[in-house]
């Protein structure tokens, strides 16, 4: 849907200071009909890339190619994109409904249709009860929901969200992820940034990973996990401090005293199982070891 080709972005914080390279030759594609997670630590260049896609800032070099399905003119393209910035600040004296109307009117949505959309989405975002209240009375999570609601007000086919899950409590995050999945199921393309790998791994089919302004990976989550798969198995066993296992393994308690984890190769899986049973150890679980995105990208251990 959108392709970034060799994007570079330089910033000069002050006249005599050095040039800061925020993006270095970044190329990737937002694929139609997929949920794409845009990953990277704080300062990796995610928001800068999004601002370039949205034409808030211009790249120092490189091209952005928008699919003809989005349109040819800038106005056509942007009428099919919904964008939610990170932690936006809305007009505090307007009420929530005013703000949604404002945004939708700019996109030329007829009032009747807008009412239908609000009636559909507002309860899903659990913001319907507060739409007639002044925005200055909203909590951080409510502001995020209101922003998301106005992002969907013109029924865009591509939704770009900058850190949509930040500042939300666990329940709020779960609800927001459910909405993202629902939007995707209705045929939309979603591109969202996050620095929380778990969220992205949970709902995305595609990922783009940036580190210090450079592209590290772009492609499917499944392919990446498959490429980094581990043939080992992990046993979780009740810790009784009475074990003397002969099967080659590595053990760890992962910070808990009541359980212990044994990692063995696939070949030794059955031997280990037999040995644990013979030692009368209480097996809680056994599962193949699956590396997480966090472990793949940052080498972090559980």
């Amino acid at each position: 849907m959108i392709r970034l080709e060799n994007i570079n972005k330089d910033f000069k914080p002050d006249a005599f200071g050095p040039v800061f390279k925020a993006l270095k030759n970044v190329s990737f594609e937002i694929k139609e009909g997929k949920i794409t997670g845009f990953l990277g630590a704080n300062g990796a260049g995610k928001t800068t890339s999004m601002k370039i896609i949205m034409d808030f800032i211009r790249p120092s070099s490189g091209n952005i190619i928008y699919d003809v399905k989005l349109g040819k003119k800038k106005e056509e393209i942007f009428s099919k994109i919904g964008f939610l910035p990170e932690r936006p600040y809305f007009y505090p004296h307007l009420n929530g409904r005013d703000f949604v109307y404002y945004m939708a009117t700019l996109s030329g949505v007829p009032k009747l249709l807008l009412k239908e959309r609000i009636a559909y989405w507002a309860p899903r975002f659990k913001i319907d009860f507060a739409l007639d209240r002044k925005i200055k009375t909203y909590s951080k999570g409510m502001l995020q929901r209101l922003g998301f609601l106005s992002t969907l007000s013109h029924d865009p086919s591509l939704i770009i969200l900058d850190e949509p899950l930040s500042g939300l409590d666990p329940i709020g995050r779960k609800e927001m992820k459910d909405v993202i999945v629902e939007i995707h199921r209705s045929g939309k393309t979603v591109f969202f940034s996050s620095h929380i790998m778990g969220d992205v791994e949970e709902i995305c089919q595609e990922i783009v990973f940036l580190q210090s302004g450079e592209l590290q990976y772009t492609g499917s989550v499944a392919a990446l996990l498959h490429r980094n798969r581990n043939e080992n198995y992990l046993f979780c066993v009740k810790n009784n401090d009475r074990y003397d296992l002969k099967t080659p393994h590595t053990s760890s308690t992962r910070g808990r005293e009541d359980t212990i984890y044994f990692e063995v190769s696939a070949d030794d899986k059955n031997i280990m199982l037999k040995e644990l049973v013979e030692n009368r150890m209480e097996i809680i679980s056994m599962e193949p070891v699956q590396k997480t995105l966090e472990e793949i990208f940052y080498g972090a251990k559980k």
Binding site: I57, E75, H93, L106
Partner: protein
């Protein structure tokens, strides 16, 4: 056009609900009280005091509003990322800018109408005669506030709010002090100074042109040519500032 009016409408609504017009109400009450007290101390010319205070407070309120609220018109939206929500829609940046101006000027106009009405009523109660010159002065106060607004928005796109406000105050004060008639004595025999003054008049706003209060107070008339040409100057200068700001806003990286 619909984009401009949509932005203008919601800008107006937000400002109206923020009770910025309380400014007009309090200023109006202050004006009436001050006029009453001052007229008690004058002999024979309470009307002059009334219109002097009225026009003074009108200027203070309009220019103050344009300066201190106007500086945040765009800069706050950029700083707080609200502008991203707007320009991510199928709208052109210059239309957003024009809409913001229109919305803010509507509030400024409302403020002017409220205060001018209170001022003129007080003046009339004190048996003053409302002349065309008073109305021209009120129009000029609006143009003065318009220029201040356009200048402060232009500055706020390029520097921080404090520097913007100070720069515009400096321009406002020098713009009033640069009256060629009062400077004539100093300019004579100083060609470099004269060139500097000419350059200033060519580029920077001549607020002194809009100051006709002395003519109002002493009930003197100005030629219609002067009044209309000054009005034209105000509009052309505004157009120049709007164009310049629109070009900068269009090209600006909204970080």
């Amino acid at each position: 056009m619909s984009t401009i009016f949509t932005v203008a409408y919601y800008t107006f609504k937000e400002l109206l609900k923020s009770r910025v017009l309380m400014n007009a109400f309090f200023m109006g009450c202050f004006l009436i009280a001050l006029t009453y007290i001052a007229s008690e101390f004058t002999f024979g010319v309470p009307q002059r005091i009334a219109i002097d205070f009225g026009l003074g407070i009108l200027t203070l309120s309009s220019v103050g509003m344009a300066l201190f609220f106007g500086v945040e018109l765009l800069s706050k939206e950029i700083e707080t990322r609200t502008i991203y929500m707007i320009i991510s829609r199928p709208v052109e940046r210059y239309k957003v800018l024009l809409g913001k101006y229109l919305g803010f000027l509507s509030i400024l106009f409302l403020n002017l109408i409220i205060l001018a009405s209170m001022s003129l009523i007080t003046f009339k109660v004190l048996k003053g005669d409302i002349t065309n010159m008073i109305l021209w002065n009120i129009i000029y106060i609006f143009i003065e506030a318009l220029l201040v607004l356009l200048l402060v928005v232009l500055f706020s796109l390029n520097t921080n709010n404090t520097v913007s406000v100070i720069s515009v105050i400096v321009l406002y004060v020098t713009g009033h002090a640069m009256d060629p008639n009062t400077l004539k004595f100093f300019v004579e025999g100083r060609p470099a100074f004269e060139k500097l003054i000419n350059f200033y008049h060519f580029v920077l706003p001549g607020f002194y042109k809009l100051n006709i209060k002395d003519f109002v107070l002493y009930q003197e008339n100005l030629s219609s040519e002067y009044l209309i040409s000054t009005l034209g100057y105000g509009f052309l200068y505004s157009l120049f500032l709007i164009t310049l700001t629109a070009v900068i806003f269009e090209r600006k990286d909204l970080n």
